[in-house]
Symmetry: C2
């Protein structure tokens, strides 16, 4: 038997797990490295932030996922160095792991676009911790308002970014306030809590057909969400978003969902990065000059039209590079990556979503919402999570209630007896 | 119509919510104060610590619980002063709330019994934050062992205290290791992870019949848990429990479940406290000399045999004081509190529990476990939580898996964009 080939996969997101699942075969050892011990189903983070789901419902232990794969190991830690000459990855500054092939699937981080005040005063929505922090802040604002004698707590919310995340967040926030918080806080008048969605382009959901963008805008405005189109953000202040035309949108909570930037892990490759900190790769997703190194998902920028930084290109890219590594091991040439568009969806709330299939078919309203619901359930990884999500959603749908409203006054760090 | 009477209930545990539910009637305004915005179903905390349930599954938003009661308000905050002369309660140092009647249901905290090292080196299990911190520490130890090259991470666990919490924790830990972690960490040999239960008395489950204590001890030992009876703890070191006879029990994780002490809120009443920081009360649970002030649950010490510091005396005490306050408002005399023992239960693990009914009937093994399961499901507050718990338990039972294994590397505090 030939000696074992070692493949390191950096990242346990959609791309990394897709690669890991497809990579294992006799003679191949796979090592998955991630800074978290769980995979996050990012499309549903907004539901965690708006208390519709628990973080545990959309996070799945990586080790449980890889358990059936005897040739796959998991390493918990942050990648701090990559050496393409020595073929090593360093974890947490001191643990050095050798690779024969490398798959970089480190994803992306929330992009500030250099706007002043974003780091200090806004909440991103890229990780489970982001979603929990936003939820805690939101619920904390309502508790503070209930406790305030002079009513000086601004409950208004600004969401910056009119992509799927911003649209779903704005819709979810209105539902949370109308259906749950208005009942929870009888001492507050919550009929007119302002929610503003700010988008620099002239329509929301840019990648969708304009008719669906219009459907979404109309659905948002029906939910009393002010949609500000065609205006950028000049800066963010502690209690307001200042627009490029000088107007101020006062808000006690500011969600920043304008887009993403490649993970800082990309810079560890030592190659010039492209726009948005993405790593330019060849048609087969390999790093030019390094045929044994592949970059996939949000971090990768293959030639041609940039792929959307969502789950599908990462999942398909993972399966693709697994096949290319197998081809290399078998002495066959690699093939170009061909992305198959499976369509796009975004939900604005109860009974309301827009969906667009690659053949041009468009759906909105209740039918779009059923499609959105079905797809997300099927894709949510792991039966247990799926069953929990189904229970929560059925409960929310029938009762309009949302159960996940714990405010942890102390962080659940690993700390001894207080 | 007579002027409104204001009743403040301190604490949203079993006792406080029971009182609040029964108190409301026309002319009575109820204010519930708690430092958390959620009620914690404490009997299942050990399941959160051992990753069988999410914290959200056993925590229920107080505001949702009180929502149907229009005359009831919730205040989030810690009680920092009580003035029995001016009839006021101060919240968070500056918010002063007036009361006509006061119900103190502040519960208890984990007791260190003055043993050196307990604060610094052990994990209590009284709150949701405790359970999450213990879970994070436990899973962190296994990740550290997987990452360690010289195998110097002690995975051994010591549980101090042989009451229901200690017994259930020890049993739950063995199941977590045997059924989940052994599969999650193929790189580690986890067949012999030592678990030691230390109890100062000569049997576990002291309040149960001795035959059930013996059943429980035997069931624990069958699960390879070393049960050290009749020996106290001299002190706790960072990596070991030192017993009173000088023996050391090395352990990388030490759970402290020896018992509880009355909440510090009791001391704010300004009366001499009894053993275990409990507040001595009259037979009707009122504070002697203050007929409009009642103390219930873990914090109260009525005349006679001390009541067990578990859910039932608190729940029954809450309903009782609500009736007494109504009696006072109607000009009727108060009545003594009569506790109705409904029996006790503790589970050691899958298919194994002990149960004792007040008529002396005793159950153990599978029948005891079914009783335990049914009772806890019925008592878990709120349908949604019950459904989630049922899904998780069914899944765990069939697959031996446990889903809630997220390790949050950053605390989910309310903090802006990083």
């Amino acid at each position: 038997m030939a000696s074992t080939v070692r493949v390191i996969v950096i990242g346990a997101g959609f791309g990394g797990l897709s690669a890991a699942r497809a990579l294992e075969r006799p003679g191949v050892q796979v090592v998955v490295i991630d800074a978290n011990n769980f995979h996050t189903f990012q499309p549903l983070l907004y539901q965690v932030a708006t208390a519709g789901l628990d973080a545990d419902d959309i996070c799945f232990p990586v080790r449980a996922h890889l358990r059936k794969r005897r040739g796959t190991r998991f390493v918990l830690g942050a990648v701090t160095a990559i050496d393409l000459v020595d073929h090593t990855v360093t974890v947490d500054g001191d643990r050095v792991e050798h690779f024969d092939h490398l798959v970089v699937a480190a994803g992306s981080v929330s992009a500030t676009f250099g706007v002043e005040g974003v780091d200090e005063h806004t909440f991103p929505l890229k990780t489970a911790v982001d979603a929990l922090a936003l939820r805690a802040h939101l619920l904390g604002r309502f508790e503070a308002a209930a406790a305030s004698v002079d009513g000086d707590i601004d409950l208004g919310i600004a969401v910056v970014g009119g992509g799927p995340t911003g649209v779903e967040m704005a819709g979810g926030l209105r539902e949370l306030i109308d259906k749950v918080l208005r009942k929870d806080y009888p001492e507050l008048d919550l009929r007119h809590v302002p929610i503003t969605l700010v988008e620099a382009a002239d329509r929301v959901l840019g990648p969708f057909h304009p008719s669906l963008s219009e459907q979404a805008r109309s659905a948002l405005e029906k939910r009393r969400i002010t949609v500000q189109l065609g205006v950028g953000v000049a800066r963010v202040e502690p209690d307001a978003v200042v627009l490029a035309d000088g107007r101020r949108v006062p808000a006690g909570t500011i969600v920043w969902a304008t887009g993403v930037s490649g993970s800082p892990v990309g810079a560890l490759l030592g190659v010039p990065l492209a726009r948005g900190n993405r790593v330019p790769v060849a048609v087969d997703l390999s790093l030019p000059g390094h045929p044994n190194v592949f970059v996939i998902g949000d971090l990768a920028l293959p030639p041609g039209t940039p792929l959307p930084q969502v789950a599908q290109p990462a999942i398909q890219g993972g399966a693709h590079v697994a096949r290319q590594i197998h081809a290399q091991l078998d002495g066959r040439p690699t093939e170009p990556f061909v992305y198959r568009d499976k369509g796009s969806m975004a939900t604005i709330g109860r009974n309301q979503a827009v969906a667009e299939l690659p053949n041009g078919w468009k759906f909105h309203g209740f039918i779009g919402w059923l499609m959105w619901l079905g797809l997300h359930l099927v894709e949510l990884m792991g039966f247990r999570n799926r069953a929990n999500v189904l229970v929560n959603w059925a409960w929310n749908y029938v009762t309009y209630d949302r159960g996940s409203r714990m405010l942890l006054s102390h962080p659940p760090e690993a700390s001894p007896h207080d």
